[in-house]
Amino acid sequence: MFVLVEMVDTVRIPPWQFERKLNDSIAEELNKKLANKVVYNVGLCICLFDITKLEDAYVFPGDGASHTKVHFRYVVFHPFLDEILIGKIKGCSPEGVHVSLGFFDDILIPPESLQQPAKLYPPRPGSWHSGHSMGSRPARPRLLYVGLSPLFLGLPSDEAEQVWVWEYETEEGAHDLYMDIGEEVRFRVVDESFVDTSPTGPSSAEAASSSEELPKKEAPYTLMGSISEPGLGLLSWWTSS
């Protein structure tokens, strides 16, 4: 789950911190800069592991602060491909199941990677989405995202509380296994994507977006998970009592 990343950076120590030990000031500055931040193509930085090398500190004309080039190692959250992780379900939406690890929230399990057959319950009012046949192949049963009028079904009409359901077939009949919020789930990491969210220049942005709509906040680091194997999914599904 966690890796050690070797990095090099120049740390600026302002003059009012010269009385402190250099190592402590540098450690604090590095943590201030990197902790809880995502570095592009590297991962979510957690905390400083150690400082490997400190080069000479320079004071440049016009700036009273000292600049030190530091070689250090940082603990970074970066699960490898196909790693098994355990997280909590944060919510369900038509995009899939959102899982969170507490310190990292942007994990999505898309509907095609759920245990099949799966459906979203309760269904959204007034939308016939039978065309949403995600992952429909002749061998596997189709994913159902059925939209019927809630009044017809006698269901509450607000779609705020939707959950994905695994329709587990046994000899006795189909059991509906709900993926409720707050449940612990074991999943496999199948994909990761880094998005560079550094600010762009003013010229293109202003022309493109109007002032009313807020810019979409994209998560800089997202993981895609899968629970379509035996053993994956809610922990309660697989514990032998």
Binding site: F2, E28, N31, K32, G62, K69, G102
Partner: protein
């Protein structure tokens, strides 16, 4: 502003010194030692040129040396060049087990508790948040009760099973108790491990690694039930 003025002058200095020398005019900036050029007569084109080029050569030799020494010091100035960027030397230097990260974060928390004064400054908020959340997450896993000796013992016991580093790490972090979990973590376990080997692996894992906090709770609950049953008798 002082440095801004310098910035403008720095690149031009190498050129301007030669011109000034040729004119025999005021001494240019730079090390004094270089300015002892032989006298050059301005009016004389041929000499002038040759001399200038020679001087230029001299200038280059010494002046550029000193110039580069200073400019290399300045080149690192983040405000001048827009910052030397942070560089990632190795994005995968080592894999860390959850226990190691747990240990590191608990030590960090102790250290910061002792020093006390600067925990709540706005800059430290990110570190506080991530430390708290990660510690909370790892505390709910079996890794909480591990120790370096346990990890060492586990790895020596794993040598015989011929697993990859990633597989051993997953077993260490998750402590599987069923064969299904082993099949998830070990790639192609049906081909590489027989049933007995999987059983042996499970046995090693459960005997060496301590159970997690949830398993302990269940253990306590079942113990209580057993005690209640004994009481009426």
């Amino acid at each position: 502003m002082f440095s801004q003025t310098l910035n403008i002058l720095i690149p031009r200095q190498a050129k301007s010194i030669g011109v000034q020398m040729a004119r025999g005019a005021r001494p240019a900036r730079g090390p004094a030692g270089v300015l002892q050029a032989p006298g050059v007569h301005r009016g004389d084109p041929g000499v002038h040129r040759g001399a200038r080029s020679r001087l230029w050569g001299v200038r280059r030799g010494a002046g550029s040396r000193s110039f580069s020494a200073w400019s290399s010091a300045c080149a690192g100035d983040p405000r001048r060049r827009g910052g030397e960027d942070m560089e990632v030397k190795d994005a995968n230097a080592a894999l860390l087990s959850n226990y190691e990260v747990f240990q590191l974060l608990t030590d960090l928390k102790e250290q910061r508790k002792e020093s006390g004064k600067n925990k709540h400054s706005s800059g430290q908020q990110n570190l506080n948040t991530i430390t708290y959340e990660t510690l909370k997450y790892i505390s709910k896993t079996p890794c909480k009760h591990q120790s370096p000796e346990i990890v060492r013992e586990f790895l020596t016991a794993m040598k015989s099973h011929k697993l990859t580093k990633a597989e051993k790490l997953q077993l260490l972090n998750h402590r599987p108790v069923t064969a299904v979990e082993i099949q998830l973590m070990v790639e192609e376990s049906e081909e590489r491990l027989t049933e007995e080997q999987i059983e042996a692996l499970l046995h090693t894992v459960t005997s060496i690694l301590p159970a997690g906090p949830e398993a302990e709770q269940q253990q306590n609950a079942s113990d209580d039930v057993a005690m209640d049953e004994e009481d009426p008798a």
